[in-house]
């Protein structure tokens, strides 16, 4: 009976549709009605990851913003505490997400999805083992794509640590790498990754196309003391050297060209006077790198012990080779995250988040020309609560 009804409905619909189309034949020509596509990813585009809004944490947003016009270009929306990465050729965006069959509960499915970067539409997905690391804020050590674009490495935390290796070319899970309690996926070669260990040492793992570890070497001794001066998880990469910064404003360079990685001599971000004034790094993403210039950027605030997540009010710029500060950019608004583009006319982006009882305007992205330090404007009304910025 229902089927009959539907058939009737279809027939009537078709008839009425034609009638309606005729009735509207005198309609003005259609406007440019369509779904937009994007041009190629440009150097100043930024990807803002909002892992959780103020209301909900089951719908991660990856917001794509043109850093020149400060306009929204589009977004991806995923699942619980999602993360994202852009392929080196800029043609694809990868996300790793977790979905529950009933929103906040039910059966768990972890998925790596490949999106076409022009259409922002999913082109394929791979189900991965349901154990990926979920952390707020997300950062670039949670997932990495090999330089040839073939393997995507996703960090797991159960809370045991490992890495799921996804074979992108064949759209399947290739294997799993045990990181022996060390955390993070920081790539330092075509098939080599670095992971940070709880004692302050670095673990260097070589892996193959089957997603298996084929070698692992650990630093002979820690390059920092996690109990006296812990470093932030993600370093600034300048060439083959990883510059880690610490809660107490030290720089710990690590040479990743050797196997295992080798520690270089730490040096301070601040003078004794500045240290006394309480200057130290802080925020959700307090470090940016400009590899072509050998510079790194640190979000600084004044505060006491354990203020490593306090929003920064200035960005201090360091020449890594000369081990000295070369610039200071005062931010119009305190920021939680910074990001520097890698092109010849680089931008510094600083993201401001509302604080309880504070700013009513929502998250705001500030833009600066790094060479002059000039403030170029800001974009407000950013959706959600973006806690991580990345770019091409």
């Amino acid at each position: 009976m229902r089927a009959g009804f539907h058939t009737l409905l279809n027939v009537l619909c078709a008839a009425l549709w034609l009638a309606a189309a005729n009735a509207f034949a005198q309609t003005p020509p259609p406007e440019g009605v369509r779904v937009r596509e994007l041009g190629p990813v440009a150097p100043h585009w930024v990807f803002l990851v909002s892992p959780a809004g103020l209301d909900s944490e089951i719908s991660t947003k990856v917001e794509i913003v043109d850093g020149d016009s400060l306009q929204m270009l589009g977004m991806l929306t995923g699942g619980l505490l999602g993360i994202a990465a852009l392929s080196r050729d800029r043609k694809f965006i990868f996300t790793a997400d977790t979905f529950y069959s009933r929103g906040s509960r039910g059966d768990r499915t972890d998925v790596v999805t490949t999106y076409d970067a022009r259409r922002l539409a999913p082109v394929r997905e791979v189900i991965i083992p349901p154990k990926r690391q979920m952390h707020i804020p997300p950062d670039s050590s949670a997932m990495a794509l090999t330089s040839d674009g073939r393997l995507l490495l996703v960090a797991n935390l159960t809370p045991a640590t490992s890495i799921t290796v996804v074979d992108i070319a064949n759209n399947q899970v290739a294997g799993e790498i045990d990181t022996a309690g060390c955390t993070g996926v920081l790539l330092s070669g075509p098939r080599r990754l670095q992971s940070l260990c709880g004692d302050g040492a670095m673990l260097t793992i070589d892996f193959n196309d089957s997603g298996k570890a084929v070698g692992a070497k650990r630093m002979a001794k820690p390059f920092f003391d996690p109990e006296k001066d812990p470093v932030f998880s993600v370093p600034a990469m300048l060439g083959k050297t990883a510059y880690f910064i610490s809660y107490h404003a030290m720089v710990y360079p690590v040479d990743w060209s050797s196997d295992p990685a080798t520690a270089q001599k730490p040096w301070p971000l601040v003078t004794d006077a500045e240290r006394k004034q309480g200057w130290r790094p802080g925020g959700y993403q307090p470090l940016g790198a400009y590899a072509p210039g050998g510079l790194f950027y640190v979000l600084m605030h004044r505060g006491g012990e354990w203020t490593h997540k306090q929003f920064g009010i200035e960005v201090w710029v360091y020449d890594a080779a000369r081990k000295q500060r070369v610039d200071k950019i005062v931010l119009p608004r305190p920021a939680a995250e910074i990001h520097v583009t890698q092109d010849r006319d680089p931008r510094l982006f600083a993201l401001s988040l509302p604080e309880p009882g504070g700013m009513a305007s929502g998250p705001t992205l500030q833009s600066f020309a790094t060479k002059t330090g000039r403030y170029l404007g800001a974009m407000d009304q950013l959706p959600g609560f973006p806690m991580w910025i990345f770019g091409p």
Partner: protein, 168 residues
């Protein structure tokens, strides 16, 4: 309420009182009117977005004339435009409709408010005007309905405002 929309819905209503079944078909059709204009998924060449004529006002402002019956986030703030959906969303072939007066030519136009579906709420430039908005018993005029019929998801990212016809 405006004459064309009224006329169409009145016809529907008249049929309704005699044959209830036709009412819902009428509603489906009202929504489907725009379908032949919108082979969105199949557009190969890039079309030009409708740019406002001088004097029409700012399409990123909730005061823009086409938004007289709007409810949602303006797609122009979300990677689309007044008539374009942001990349990766699905433009619904169905919509609620309103009748708004263009300040340039002084004429009234039937506007279709087409939701862009399949991605979560953009949230930017939220705008609610309610001219012509009726409750659910006049489905086609209800701006609270999630108008994603004809797409594969009822999650709305933002909403467009497409000229469907000159009011006659």
């Amino acid at each position: 309420m405006d004459a064309l929309v009224e006329r169409v819905t009145r016809q529907v209503a008249m049929r309704t009182s005699r044959r209830g079944m036709l009412a819902l078909i009428g509603r489906v059709i009202l929504g489907a009117i725009a379908l032949p204009l919108l082979p969105v998924e199949r557009v190969a060449a890039r079309a030009h977005a409708a740019e406002p004529a001088p004097g029409e006002g700012d399409p990123l402002s909730c005061d823009y004339w086409r938004y007289c019956g709007f409810d949602g986030s303006l797609c122009g703030c979300c990677g689309g435009s007044t008539t374009e959906c942001p990349p990766g969303t699905l433009m619904s072939p169905t919509s609620w409709v309103g009748t708004c007066r263009n300040p340039v030519d002084g004429k009234e136009y039937i506007i279709g408010y087409r939701d862009c579906c399949g991605k979560d709420n953009c949230g930017r430039c939220f705008c609610q005007n309610n001219k012509g908005d009726l409750p659910l018993y006049r489905t086609q005029l209800d701006n609270g309905v999630t108008w994603c019929y004809g797409t594969s998801s009822f999650v709305v990212n933002c909403t467009t405002a497409v000229k469907l016809a000159l009011k006659s």
